[in-house]
Symmetry: C2
Subunit: 454 residues, 2 copies
């Protein structure tokens, strides 16, 4: 992927960051791992240490940590003598789903991170003991990191909301509630899938404006949506709310999320209760949980709202606006058509976006979601909403890029697209970069569209 965000990496230590109080030795950019592939790794250097659930060539699924091109087996680590003092934590993190670990919260994540950082760092005396616990990632299958209790999809990409709204309501693109409420809806949890799982084109009811009646058949306008995924850690009791100042502490980590969307099915079904089957056939996520701790250097204060925008209500307003609640993550979408694959051509980048274009922060999602007493639980997953910027190169869906399918795009190999065709794979990647820190990545979020079944 030439020209990818992953090629550019901050190399030299810079000035002391403002958020230094949240950082520790595990963030030191000069820290290097004895795992050779982790040195200068574009995504998984020792400063990242994301958690996931993997199955090696032979053997059951278990918790693991990505380090370079390898995965450290937490089940093996738990039974070693290298973590006797935090054995309970490592045991829970080695389970075939990380819900228990996510529920332990920030303290446990930090203790595990500190230990992993020390064990995997250059000069660690544990190197010989750990080597047999490493599995080549390319030989492993990665599953969902946790059983997703509930999946909630937000709509915080304001430019996306404007782009979509201007297609539907040119004179009034943004609804009156948008700048007051982090708009969201309940998604389908069962159909969230880990990267790599292809799925058939969904069928459904759709009706073109000039059709008299709807028909049932394969989706004609299949699209992707580029989103940030947010993994919830410790939840709240039913009937209680999580105050905005405590909200970041309930977020365990982040991933990439492709909110596949059947636009024709959506247009016909969504009134009055919102998207349903047009989304619930598949949602693809990157399989690694990039922890809140790994993301600490890449937090930013929320952008000031444009002049004239309403202030957020008190329950959505952190008491200290300078605390960096927002994120600075760069995200990419690539398309790889069947023809590209057949000829060995590199995937083509469709967009490059940034989480700084989100109108609401993850903490605001948490505070809003629980404000009615709704109980969140470890392993709940949020989507940020589609991330789009102002120019077409940063639009996070084909519906935006092709203006509702009216303006096809031409790919470098001569193919054209309005919406996706069978055989197309969509690949998302993300990177967090900052002067003075090691860049980290999220791993791949990829899935291919298969032909509709029978």
């Amino acid at each position: 992927m030439q020209g990818s965000i992953l090629d550019a990496r901050a190399k030299a230590p810079g000035p002391t960051p403002a958020a230094a109080m949240m950082l520790d030795a595990s963030h030191d950019p000069s820290l290097r791992s004895w795992v050779a592939s982790a040195r200068n790794h574009a995504e998984f250097p020792i400063q990242n240490l994301p958690l996931g659930v993997f199955a090696p060539d032979a053997g059951p699924a278990r918790g693991g940590v990505a380090i370079g091109d390898e995965i450290l087996d937490l089940a093996a680590l738990a039974t070693s003598g290298l973590c006797a003092d935090i054995r309970e934590i490592v045991m829970v993190a080695s389970a075939p789903s990380l819900n228990g670990f996510l529920g332990l919260g920030t303290g446990a994540r930090k203790r595990l991170r500190a230990r992993l950082s020390a064990l995997l760092a250059d000069g660690s005396p544990a190197q010989a003991a750990l080597k047999p616990m490493l599995h080549p990632a390319e030989k492993c299958t990665l599953g969902l990191p946790a059983r997703i209790g509930d999946y909630t999809d937000f709509y915080a990409g304001i430019q996306h909301a404007l782009n979509i709204g201007s297609l539907l309501r040119p004179d009034n693109p943004l609804l009156p509630n948008y700048k007051h409420i982090p708009i969201g809806y309940n998604g389908r949890a069962s159909s969230v899938r880990p990267s790599g799982e292809a799925f058939p084109r969904p069928k459904g009811q759709r009706k073109r404006p000039d059709d008299t009646d709807p028909t049932f058949g394969p989706c004609r306008n299949l699209d992707y949506e580029l989103e940030l995924g947010i993994w919830i850690g410790p939840g709240n009791a039913p009937g209680s709310a999580i105050p905005i100042d405590e909200a970041d502490d309930r977020i365990a980590g982040f991933c990439l999320l492709n909110d596949w969307s059947a636009r024709d099915i959506q247009a016909w079904e969504y009134q009055p209760l919102g998207p349903f089957l047009s989304k619930g056939f598949a949602t693809t996520i990157s399989p690694w949980i990039v922890t809140a701790e790994a993301m600490a250097p890449f937090r930013k204060a929320q952008k000031p709202r444009p002049k004239g925008d309403p202030a957020a209500l008190a329950y959505l307003s952190p008491s200290d606006a300078t605390v960096p609640h927002a994120l600075d993550v760069t995200l990419e979408v690539y398309i790889e058509t069947a023809a590209m694959r057949a000829k060995g051509l590199a995937p083509h980048r469709l967009s490059l976006g940034t989480t700084q274009d989100l109108y609401w922060t993850p903490a605001q999602f948490v505070a809003h979601h629980s404000s009615n007493g709704c109980n969140l639980a470890p392993g709940d997953l949020f989507g940020s909403g589609t991330i789009s910027g102002r120019d077409p190169g940063s639009f996070g869906s084909l519906m935006e890029i092709t203006r509702g399918g009216r303006e096809p795009i031409t790919l470098p190999n001569g193919e054209s697209r309005t919406y996706l065709v069978d055989g197309d794979a969509i690949i998302m990647r993300a990177a967090a970069r900052r002067e003075g820190f090691a860049s980290i990545g999220f791993g791949e979020c990829r899935a291919e569209v298969l032909p509709a079944r029978g």
Copy 2:
């Protein structure tokens, strides 16, 4: 509850029913149990045998069966010698959540039902062995019968859709898709609660039409919605669909469902992605799964669609329209205010509805939901949508009864209501009756509204 549907019971055997092929000895109305309280029991005679998860005074939660005023402990039954040949089934049904049992499907449910029917019938030689396995229901706590993977709320009460639509769009109450699609949306699974769990009034953003800006605070227009709940049994693999003719076989049973609704929060939040926090603070269900087998005598062929309505598309049309896919269940909603409770007054009935007013059948829900390849799983829960009839005495929500809060109702003790006040409890009940069969009930679906939290 004087005058309740539960007072009226069919007593004498009648003519052989059309659906006799689906019935067996367990439905014989002359069958009586040696459990004295089960004889002529309004809800739980031996012909019902609903499954749930209960915890006795002391001891952990486990699977149980309601029989009269008692609960039969399936964990005790599993380790007895009374079911050696179906021990695996009883073991799974005795777990603290019934997901595993629901996944076993129709065959296992029928085998368990046949055995329970024989064991609990008059003249059973197992009476002495079973007596110690009975717990008085009033001394037990009933939990959720299963871990709900995903909860989907449909909107199949056409009169409700008309009533609500006429408040919002007097000239065009029913949207164009309504008679083509079983409209539904994803609900919040984590906030589904068993009967008896009170909850605080939710807070949220709301904005009156003449307010300049929204405010955050306790819901002003708290409402209930009367629905039938549907428990999913064996699911489908991702990407596959469940054909309409196989759909009933994926339904394990039924319950009552109160889709509590914060109308003011809903009005402000729901565009463009549907209801979210206005629903996700609490959904109360009756704790017993009334099995598909117990409901067999109370199936009906779907009402023919009114002249002029479009035919259902093929994927929603059973190949034999005479197969009884619809249900004949009568449902009631009662209000019990704090003042009523203090004076020992009986709850007041707000509405009396019937599942025959649903435009779509449970089988159509299943076929539609999976038509896009969405994978359903054992323990998924569907709500039918609010069940309302044509006259105000059969409207399934206060929004309909009070015409959007504009026409208060007066209760028999002189209190008046537009929407619910703190201390109000809403109680739902349901009964299935048919000439020639023993009537069965669903048990209570009850919850009280507590004051909003500080």
